[in-house]
Symmetry: D2
Subunit: 366 residues, 4 copies
């Protein structure tokens, strides 16, 4: 083995959880120890390990044993632990926000950490970029089940979410077919329609609604009724959580629906409500919610997580800080974190996948 300078590194994961996180953590720990002979520390609950006492723990080969097939993350994670705006209760029980960024920087010095592997989506990586700018030696690993980072072809977690949604669609198909129903399934994705688009095709949806293609409810009614008349008295509608009708929230106001997402639930319920009396079939809604973040990661996500973890440690070995590992044309590469957080990967409404979906008769409501 080549002789490497001894290093002491930390691994931090922020944001929502994501199947494959444990694969990354395991690969970081194993590579640092086995390939480089370094020392690894894990920060529990996002940055808390660098903010609060007792939450930065030593990571060994033993710590990461058996975690590869497990969902979640052994380090815990949270959306709320932004060190630049950390929520705490004051003596009157009110939430106030503190800037603990300096604490993080001090902790890194105090612990003599040579580098930090930061696993997160755009929110966490933006925090990482701010720390980079203040001199912390960080390498990033992209994490989002929504596949919405343009800088990387895909990320771990997305494939597992696809699996969960597709298997759910398989289950719903049997019940939709046996009865005469329109089933509306709301899935994750934020501003990007990837989960809805790909799982919708894979799960045999009839209608797919995504943020990138605003829909008209009349088109949905047309499709559903055409199917009914043709002897298919059921339809499966997959709705991305960020989908909106043409005209957006304006349309709700005209219809006298105020604060629709607050009172009526998500867009799934809205769509079901809109279809309501217009189709001659019962409509039911299924909101998959956090199921999509759970479960054992797929083979692809475990493999990609492992490759990302190894690559992140290799970047540290080469002192390439401020960069994020990425996948490009199936190969591992890296980009600057600054670049990575700048642009979103959205579905191209004229792209080949949408066209393929249209070719087999899927309606996008436009």
């Amino acid at each position: 083995m080549q002789v490497h300078q001894h290093k002491r590194i930390a691994v931090v994961n922020g944001g929502g959880d994501c199947p494959g996180l444990n694969a990354v953590i395991r690969a970081v720990v194993k590579t640092a120890i086995l390939r480089y002979g370094w020392e690894v520390w894990g920060s529990e609950d996002s940055f808390d390990g660098l903010i609060k006492p007792g939450k930065l723990i030593p990571m060994t080969l033993e710590t990461v044993r058996g975690i590869l097939p497990r969902g979640g993350t052994i380090l815990g994670t949270t959306n709320r632990g932004n060190p630049f705006r950390y929520p705490e209760r004051n003596e009157r029980g009110e939430i106030v926000f503190q800037d603990y960024s300096e604490r993080v920087i001090q902790k890194v010095k105090e612990m003599n950490l040579d580098a930090m592997v930061l696993i997160g989506g755009d929110g966490t990586l933006t925090i990482g970029q701010r720390f980079c700018e203040r001199g912390l030696p960080i390498v990033g690993v992209p994490k989002t089940i929504d596949q919405d980072l343009l800088a990387t072809e895909t990320t771990f977690g997305f494939d597992t979410a696809l699996k969960t949604v597709t298997e759910s669609l398989d289950m719903i198909h049997t019940t939709a077919e046996s009865h005469e129903r329109v089933m509306v399934i709301e899935v994750m994705g934020r501003n990007a329609g990837w989960i809805a688009l790909e799982a919708g095709i894979a799960g045999g949806a009839d209608i797919i609604l995504i943020p990138e293609i605003p829909f008209r409810v009349e088109k949905l009614v047309e499709k559903i009724e055409a199917r009914r008349v043709a002897g298919r008295p059921f339809s499966i509608v997959v709705v991305s959580e960020g989908a909106t009708p043409v005209g957006g929230s304006q349309i709700y106001r005209e219809k006298g629906i105020e604060d629709p997402f607050g009172k009526l639930g998500g867009i799934g319920a809205i769509v079901a409500g809109m279809l309501g009396s217009r189709v001659q079939l019962e409509t039911r809604v299924v909101v998959l919610g956090h199921l999509q973040r759970g479960g054992s990661p797929t083979a692809f996500d475990r493999l990609l997580g492992t490759r990302f973890g190894v690559a992140a440690v290799d970047l540290i070995a080469k002192n390439q800080f401020g960069r994020m590992v990425a996948l490009d044309d199936q190969k591992i590469t890296s980009v600057t974190i600054a670049e990575a957080i700048a642009r979103q990967r959205l579905v191209n409404p004229q792209g080949e996948i949408v066209q393929a979906a249209r070719a087999i008769g899927i309606c996008f409501g436009d």
Copy 2:
């Protein structure tokens, strides 16, 4: 092979769909043809095959090939096709209800049907009993994912529903643990808490709410907070759709909540709303809905469905009409349909399973 009088029989399935239905249909068809040399007809969409033209179809070995692992039912089913109160639109487009029971009886005569296998839950079997009383030769097969028929130890479909809920709980666990959340999962079961109870234990729930044990929200808050203080800042709450707080709907009125299930969604959303500000953790709801009726049946449900189907045909061979096949102490037996529809199987709040759940620390909110 013993010589049997040649018969012509029909198979009818009513009510919601249920994993294992295809196993029953396949076993009825195979047994009638291979063991007895009879002829089998299938009624599409519940009783529609006996009410409308063109919906009574011949069943052959070919018809039932490959259907064993599939959810749903190849015959289609519906909750709305009660022949005694059949909904139809009149010339003004209004729904009116017709009594088509005589049509069914005429169709059975006209087709020279010697017997009918009727697969259904208490609703469908009650219809079956009325036809029995008017002379139709019927044998019943119990079908309910809720396991709420006292006359049979269990039914096919329940085990598959358990599987779906338990696997969903596994997925939700990883996300609840990684974040700091109370996850409320609403499951099926009507008036019976079986799915919530058994999947709740199998899926590692912290709190289980069932119709048989009215709950107090204070007890839930106590349990969740005790866990949080003990370093377990997350809880999994499984709620049966029929669960109610002590005092029932009265409690909603006092709190100024009107028509709670209409506006706010099911009991899952109600419980989440009640917990809301009282616990220091975010609360999220997952409603599994029709996922629980879908999917490939488990080995147990395929086996039980097969055994029920064979047993139903054997009952016909012995001219034992007005009876329903059942499972008792793991053995196939039969009871009168009249008996079967009379009593519900509910969870015994003092029973061994509830006690076992309490022994390992599960809270029922009482």
Copy 3:
């Protein structure tokens, strides 16, 4: 809570591993601590915790967290650790057998253990019975994926094995159908044909070979050829590892096959070899092997394991030693360990399940 005498108990698991073991261990620990306020120790690698230093570990609520969905056992287990005949290498590297039973008894005294929960199949329970006779306060929990203990209706692990085999048959079906093949699948079960019988029915097998019904290869050829001629040019044969042809090993000798299981592999390979040139289809063998002992336990196995674990601790609280928990007519009960190990649960060749299989056309080779 009722006041209970404080106790210190140990949990020991022996024999092959079995999905649901962790559910039992978790329930024992939780019940002892939460319901009774006792102390629990776990013996690693079967009895090794009572034989070797450092392998008896304290069990806490923390120890058993998150283990419910996991296959295997957190304590480890082994078939080779019989304390009455413990294999060790002497100075010349040869294996010699030691009687360490007295060490076990001394360790129990020394540690002031009030009782031991022993989880095992007939081998382990026989060892347990010998310790009972020498005064150790033991309660047993039955463990066998083969479902071959007459004293209990079923055991945890069996349902998970059924699931694994049935899902494998589903996979093999698609490939057998697409090609023109006889697929022979060898499954576990020792002297009992339960896994082959029940998974065979659930997985749509055409032929099922079990130890309880000796087969004639001519019957298999007949069935396979009849299917081929009828336009079904493929067959699925499920073979229990203990199945034998009529005449047993005699038949091998006549055919000039010596020591068949040694050289040629298991009965699956034998059956494939026998079919070989006699059918006009290619034959392939799949041996599922240890897959059947692995994987996340099903909802049923987790629930039953939990109920058994709770019941075992309850037996200790009532000082009912020398007994094993069991399931009878879906209820938890107990029998003496002596009784439990005396008799095997075998498939009844004239029983209802075999008859149901025959009714739908499954061939048993007789």
Copy 4:
């Protein structure tokens, strides 16, 4: 819709079956009918539809309903139906090979087929190329679970095979850990180690043996013993069916093993035999075999199959014959069939994925 010339096309699938085939067939039929208004025929059992009477069937939207989640292929397939060398029994019952290629060409003319979509691996595509050279208008769709065609980044079927192997490794892990065993799992892949490599990493294998990296058994023994001494008395070895020791078959002869694959089974059994007495642990073999070709396709394989099917029909619309659809940098493209069959995609022993595996401690036996 643009006006297209009316066409009549056929779809043919050859070689072993592969999860995702039905997605391709469904997409071809739907696209041809819905997008172009063409007519589609399906050839049953590879080319048999073009050789034998009654096996070329009309394909409609109805024909392809509900097939998306199913493994296998609704058209049937076979490895043996090469029209240039078609096996048939003569009057003496001997197999003789016929050249039926002219029959195929005549059938295409006679049926007025404008084009053929040919789905197959290198064998089937080589046949396709010969027909192209004789003037048939063919477009190819690559099909191989082994991912061994250089011309396309990946193919449908591979991801499902990965899933099956990875889930099997998860199951085997629990049993290997609980006991003290070396588990050897033999997987598919022909000359390419992709399945072993990627599933091995995803499933947490300790040793991976692939054809591209010849192994020395001493290295395996070293790794297994090092783990045992370090308190990990079990190892998981994933062996690709094409893996060989350094020196290849030579090594068997030296050891006095003749015709090893004939008598002793595949390379899995060979490796287990070689380890046999050299490691102080029991060794067991699992051969996954045809399980790897079965099962419901993953979301990825359904999506890719759909995209390939649509793209193949689009190629026909553009009269681009002699080409095969392919995936390149996640985008659909096409290459000449001649190019496609020329080169194999093999694992690069110095590539990033192998290096990542080494980084986390996986041994390749070299």
